[in-house]
């Protein structure tokens, strides 16, 4: 019974994520290609500006930038889908019972599919560059899991709040916009005065992006201390998200 329950939850999550993903580019001519085109466009624009016009002196800037862009894109898309997940499935969650958290998880899973496709492109870029393989790269899944926890935790909070406050989608859009500029995605922290660095590092995304770059570009794994901080941050956000979700979930359906 216990085992089949988890299997059932898994099947539902997958079915919902599949549908989500299928419907997202439904009816568009290029279909799934959009998942690649969007981040690549952002990459292209930033790359053009910062290599040709502003001339950032960063080694392997295209890899540096692309990694930042796809990680940020994963976070932005994941949380945006997460935010709308419960509200947009109102007719479903008010008619069938299954743990509502699955709806949120499904939305982040479908964002993960996008990320995986993006990551494949990133791999191609890495192979095409003169960066040689280093074992440190195998540490990437750790940051990926941390990133996923951050996304899921944030989505859990946003999804239940959004049912109550419809303004949240606009607010979150602005926050993401601000976050994009305050996260070292296209710039390096070197250009930021040192006394502000600690503020930047309060942002878990900044750490995840920075350390990911370290393992890909510097063939080095950040010190244990830093990884612990990432772990604590991400698990903390996930737990906070989970408890807020649990609390607000109780009479949620009546607000839909």
């Amino acid at each position: 019974m216990e085992k089949s329950k988890w299997k059932y939850y898994f099947e539902i999550t997958m079915a919902l994520a599949r549908t989500d993903f299928k419907l997202r580019y439904h009816g568009s001519l290029l279909g799934y290609f959009w998942t690649l085109i969007k981040p690549l466009m952002i990459f292209g624009v930033l790359y053009t500006i910062f290599t040709l016009i502003m001339r950032f002196p960063v080694e392997h800037y295209q890899i540096y930038l692309l990694l930042g862009v796809i990680i940020w894109n994963f976070f932005a898309e994941g949380t945006q889908f997460g935010l709308a997940s419960i509200f947009s499935k109102a007719n479903l969650v008010s008619k069938v019972y299954f743990p509502r958290i699955l709806v949120v998880i499904a939305s982040t899973v479908s964002a993960s599919i996008t990320f995986i496709l993006n990551f494949l492109v990133f791999i191609v870029f890495v192979i095409a560059s003169d960066i040689s393989f280093s074992p440190s790269m195998l540490f990437f899944p750790f940051y990926l899991i941390a990133l996923y926890f951050v996304i899921l935790g944030t989505s859990l909070i946003l999804s239940v709040l959004y049912v109550r406050f419809r303004d949240l989608s606009h607010i979150w859009e602005i926050m993401l916009q601000i976050g994009f500029w305050f996260t070292p995605i296209f710039y390096t922290l070197d250009i930021v005065p040192v006394e502000y660095h600690r503020f930047f590092y309060l942002n878990p995304l900044a750490r995840i992006i920075h350390y990911s770059r370290t393992i890909f570009l510097n063939a080095d794994i950040p010190a244990f201390k830093y990884n612990l901080i990432v772990l604590v941050f991400s698990v903390g956000i996930l737990l906070i998200g989970y408890f807020i979700f649990k609390r607000l979930n109780k009479n949620l359906i009546e607000h839909l």
Partner: protein, 407 residues
């Protein structure tokens, strides 16, 4: 004794805020105002238990709490008070076609819907053919759902829904879908489920279905269990209740009809006017809805004279919904003597017509004019609407008294 479901002192209270607070602005501007609620008990202190293998019907008027109860049993709403115990696997199936997405094809929807109902992908693969065959939609499975007719939609939904593996099934008005052929098929499935001794809870307004399938019925009224017991008895009570209610309802409808007045055309010299009209039944009770019980329709029209008038002719015309004149009469034609009236006089004319009409809405035109028919003082075209509601089937527009003899 094993119970599938035990409900103890269940209460569900909904808070209905007097103002809505969906946006931050509304939230902040309302922050310092005390938020006021209307509390509403959708279910009140409900207790009952359902044995394993019982087929239970839940009946009651709209808003009596049937769906709320089902949603609480299904774990969608949380109870405000009380306990619920469920033994066995509960189907999450409340309504047909849950999670159906119109942009997806029939096939994709079957997979999605079945997953929601708790089938694994392998199980769906195995049963897919069966589902399609049952729905009789073989040719349409690759078509997008948005191009389905509503009949096809429910057929597909029902075909998936019956695949659910559960010990306890909750169903909200899911019977009687599709054409009569398909309905018969659905009923067969229900009989089968019943034979398999599944516990089934069915919410329906269709009494014949409840009567056929359910062993016991819970009759909800305003959130309370008015009666729980064997099907026949409860349905009888429900029907009796409903008849009384229907009479109340008729009264309300009667009130509504009064507002209908003076929307239509009116002409005439207004030397004598049609002032008021009252419809009463044979018991002299003013009504606007006549049923089988009312053998007469009495139309009382009050006229007020504004000038001295000699021997006017009063009349009425009766139209049905399709604007067909069903009946007309005047005092002149009927050779009823009228008097000479002077200004300020009130004249009440009563027409008594046997209630031979078939069900529907009727419009009444009142006229008053000179005896020779050349001048109308007041003509009020279709100024009153009333309706006939008969349970008796009438073939044709009129139910004329007649005899048939065979020799």
């Amino acid at each position: 004794m094993t119970y599938a479901i035990t409900v103890h002192n269940l209460t569900k209270t909904f808070k209905i805020p007097h103002e809505k607070r969906d946006t931050l602005k509304e939230y902040f501007t309302g922050l310092f105002k005390k938020r006021t609620y209307e509390k509403f008990d959708a279910l009140h202190n409900l207790s009952f238990s359902i044995k394993k293998g019982d087929f239970i019907g839940i009946i009651g008027a709209n808003g009596s709490g049937k769906s709320t109860l089902l949603k609480i049993l299904a774990n969608i709403y949380t109870p405000s008070k009380g306990q619920i115990q469920v033994n066995g696997k509960l189907s999450p199936f409340l309504e047909l076609g849950v999670g159906f997405n119109f942009e997806l094809s029939g096939k994709e929807n079957v997979y999605l819907n079945a997953a929601l109902l708790g089938l694994s992908k392998n199980e769906i693969d195995e049963r897919y053919q069966e589902i399609v065959e049952f729905s009789e939609l073989e040719k349409f499975m690759d078509m997008k759902l948005k191009n389905y007719s509503s009949g096809m939609f429910v057929r597909l939904a029902f075909s998936v829904a019956i695949q659910v593996d559960a010990d306890i099934l909750l169903m909200d008005e899911v019977l009687a879908v599709g054409d009569s052929n398909f309905q018969e098929k659905c009923f067969r499935v229900f009989r089968k489920l019943k034979k398999q001794e599944k516990t089934i809870i069915l919410v329906s307004h269709a009494m014949p279905n409840i009567e056929e399938f359910c062993d016991k019925v819970i009759y909800l009224k305003e959130g309370c269990a008015k009666m729980i017991g064997l099907t026949g008895r409860v349905i009888q009570a429900y029907k009796t209740d409903n008849l009384e209610k229907a009479e109340d309802g008729l009264e309300k409808e009667n009130e509504d009809f009064i507002k209908h007045e003076e929307t239509d055309k009116r002409w005439g010299s207004q030397e004598m006017v049609i002032d008021d009209c009252e419809l009463v039944n044979s018991d002299n009770k003013p009504i606007y809805v006549f049923t089988d019980k009312d053998d007469q329709i009495r139309i009382r029209i009050k006229h007020v004279c504004h000038k001295d008038i000699d021997n006017p002719s009063f009349g009425i015309k009766l139209y049905n919904e399709t604007d067909l004149q069903q009946f007309a009469t005047t005092t002149f034609a009927k050779e009823v003597k009228t008097a000479n009236y002077s200004s300020g006089d009130q004249v009440i004319v009563e027409y008594v017509i046997p209630n031979v009409f078939s069900s529907g809405e009727y419009h009444l035109t009142g006229t008053v004019g000179s005896r020779d028919g050349k001048l109308f003082y007041d003509w009020r075209e279709k100024f009153i609407t009333f309706s006939i509601k008969k349970e008796k089937e009438i073939y044709g527009s009129l139910d004329l008294p007649h005899t048939i003899s065979i020799s």
